[in-house]
């Protein structure tokens, strides 16, 4: 059993390697993902200076061989902070996306499988969809800002807000796939064997309807990093001086008017490249998971 699983995993890995050859965008994205994970684990240790340490007498130095990305207004080393930041940014994005994925998939399976049905489950299904409609009427950033605002700015509240925000997205993706899957003969077969509605929905349909949600995990992580840093930028997220890209850009904002470009440029570049990388990985996987494009 385990041997067979290993073989299957190896075959899948070989497929993926073959697929990624000749796709520079996908490879670049994978590189970015690997780098951010690496930095999230080791970044704060690799930093040449303390990421929250204000070094005396070196405020606002332009990039030089001691401070590769210069120093900010309070003498903190920008490079050290840029490579220490993924720990907090990635944690926020991963935890909130995982929660949104779990919540969205469960709600999506229920709302898709029982769509158009009668009784309590049918009614629950339409309530879920209607709820998602209303929540999505708010522009994303405003909704995030309001959620964090009502609860008070803190890292936990940013995670809760982002998780909440992304649920309707995964919900819709899963619901669409479930609507498609529930018409398949295997569902009818399960029903003939006497399976209950919930059991068929979660044991038989759900595993077959995960592809769209899975393919969108990576871009959602990138998008969550963007939202978290935007919240921190306006002062409603990670507090200064914790190294975080958005709050670093906020520290550097006044400097851009007086010509010290390095304090905001580098964290912004790191942020942009990260979001791009996660989006490209998502594009690649979406293509890869579609069996038509496999070979």
């Amino acid at each position: 059993m385990t041997v067979r699983a290993l073989h299957a995993a190896a075959a899948e890995a070989r497929n993926l390697v073959r697929f990624s050859r000749g796709r520079p965008g996908f490879l670049f994205g994978l590189g970015v993902v690997a780098l951010t994970i690496f930095l999230a684990i080791l970044g704060p240790r690799l930093a040449p200076y303390g990421p929250e340490e204000a070094l005396p007498g070196v405020a606002n130095l332009p990039p030089n061989h001691e401070h590769w990305m210069g120093t900010d207004i309070s003498g903190m080393d920008v490079f050290s902070r840029v490579i220490a930041a993924p720990r907090i940014d990635l944690t926020i994005a991963l935890v909130s996306t995982a929660a949104a994925f779990a919540g969205g998939v469960v709600l999506g399976v229920i709302s898709g499988f029982f769509a158009g049905g009668h009784g309590i489950w049918g009614r629950l299904s339409s309530t879920i969809v209607r709820g998602a409609d209303i929540f999505q009427a708010f522009p994303v950033f405003i909704f995030a800002l309001a959620l964090v605002g009502f609860r008070g700015p803190s890292i936990q509240n940013v995670i809760v807000a982002l998780a909440f925000l992304n649920i309707p997205f995964f919900l819709r993706l899963t619901r669409g796939a479930v609507l498609h899957m529930r018409e398949r003969p295997f569902v009818e077969a399960a029903r003939c064997m006497g399976g209950s509605g919930l059991r068929i929905a979660f044991v038989h349909v759900m595993p077959n309807a995960l592809t769209p949600a899975l393919a969108n995990l990576s871009p959602t992580i990138g998008f969550s990093i963007l939202l978290a840093s935007a919240l921190s930028f306006v002062g409603a997220g990670v507090p200064i001086p914790t190294p975080e890209w958005g709050s670093m850009i906020a520290i550097g904002a006044p400097n851009m008017m007086t010509g010290q470009w390095w304090t905001a440029l580098f964290p912004g570049l790191a942020l942009g490249l990260t979001i791009l990388g996660y989006a490209l990985v998502g594009d690649g996987f979406r293509y890869y998971l579609d069996p038509v494009n496999r070979r």
Partner: protein, 336 residues
């Protein structure tokens, strides 16, 4: 006739939608964990002080009593008082809304004027360096943080080149505010014939509007492109080609049939811009609704935040309604 019946039905549903939204906004504040009385009373407050704040906010009442009194005050147009500006929230919002609308409308106009032609052009000509460059930019723009892009623009065009004014709001400090008609400074200055204020207002609009357009225009472009591609490959265009109609006529047919989808994306663009404006306003000290919202969040000022969310919801509902009506007019196949 059919149109008016449809419009009437949709309009009748609008209040229902808004009541639902008001319920959500209300419960967002009340039911999320954490008690605002503690935040409002401050970190050194005594238990008695917290209780007093809670009583003043009515938070000691049962939740349905709170909801009814909240709804009643909203119906009267009372949204409470901001304790940062110490003004009624409605007045604060009235002062700031036009500034935000000016920003959003200008960015929308520019995005449509640039995005639709670019989308059509890339759909028609699918080879060449320029086309690939436009597509790469479309991919990149989705990953750029708008607030960071705004800062880069300020560095380049204000600090380095000195072409644009600094991020100090909507007018130069030396220019007096034109008499208020619409509240949008550029429009008001034009109406008053005040050329100095008009020039200043336009100059201050350039960087924020360019930022918003650069980040959000690709949305319009990509959508126009994919719809146009679909239309150009459709049977009616193939037939037009077979019938020997000139290319310009074929394109007009395709464009006309792409319109419903383009109208939808313009509605979605508004939705995106409303969120993007909050950040861009913060960078440019624009003094609009978005900056007001950020201020209230940072200072835990609940009344304005609650009103802001409600106003945003009203606007998106109205815009989505307009989009649906436009879609109905443009696509005769839609059945009400």
């Amino acid at each position: 006739m059919r149109f008016w019946r449809y419009a009437g039905r949709r309009l009748a549903f609008l209040p229902v939608q808004l009541v639902i939204v008001s319920v959500i906004v209300f419960f967002l504040v009340r039911l999320l964990p954490g008690d605002p009385s503690y935040l409002l009373a401050g970190p050194f407050a005594t238990v008695e002080r917290v209780d007093e704040v809670r009583r003043r906010l009515g938070l000691d009442q049962p939740i349905y009593v709170q909801y009814v009194s909240y709804l009643r005050s909203v119906m009267r147009g009372e949204f409470g008082t901001s304790w940062i500006t110490s003004q009624p929230v409605l007045q604060d919002i009235g002062q700031r809304l036009p500034a935000t609308m000016e920003l959003i409308l200008a960015a929308m106009l520019l995005s449509v004027l640039v995005g639709i032609p670019l989308g059509v052009w890339t759909a028609v000509r699918k080879t060449g360096v320029a086309d690939r460059a436009v597509l790469a930019y479309g991919m990149l723009a989705g990953a750029l943080p708008d607030f960071w892009f705004a800062l880069i623009m300020i560095f380049l065009f204000f600090f380095q080149l000195g072409w644009a004014p600094g991020p100090i709001g909507q007018l130069d400090l030396t220019v007096s505010i034109p008499p208020r008609v619409t509240g949008m400074y550029a429009v008001d200055a034009l109406l008053a014939g005040d050329w100095e204020a008009f020039r200043s207002a336009l100059a201050h609009l350039v960087l924020p509007v360019t930022t918003l357009t650069a980040i959000y225009m690709p949305l319009v472009m990509k959508n126009t492109r994919s719809t146009m591609e679909e239309m150009l490959g459709s049977e009616f265009v193939t037939y037009a080609r077979a019938a020997g109609l000139p290319r310009a006529v074929q394109l007009r047919y395709a464009l006309r049939n792409s319109m419903p989808s383009v109208v939808t994306i313009i509605g979605i663009l508004f939705w995106f811009l409303l969120g993007g404006a909050v950040l861009v306003e913060t960078v440019f000290a624009w003094g609009g609704l978005g900056q007001y919202a950020v201020q209230s969040v940072v200072n835990s000022d609940y009344a304005p935040l609650q009103a802001f969310v409600l106003v945003t919801a009203v606007f998106t509902s109205i815009v989505f309604l307009l989009v649906d009506l436009g879609y109905f007019l443009l696509d005769p196949r839609i059945k009400p």
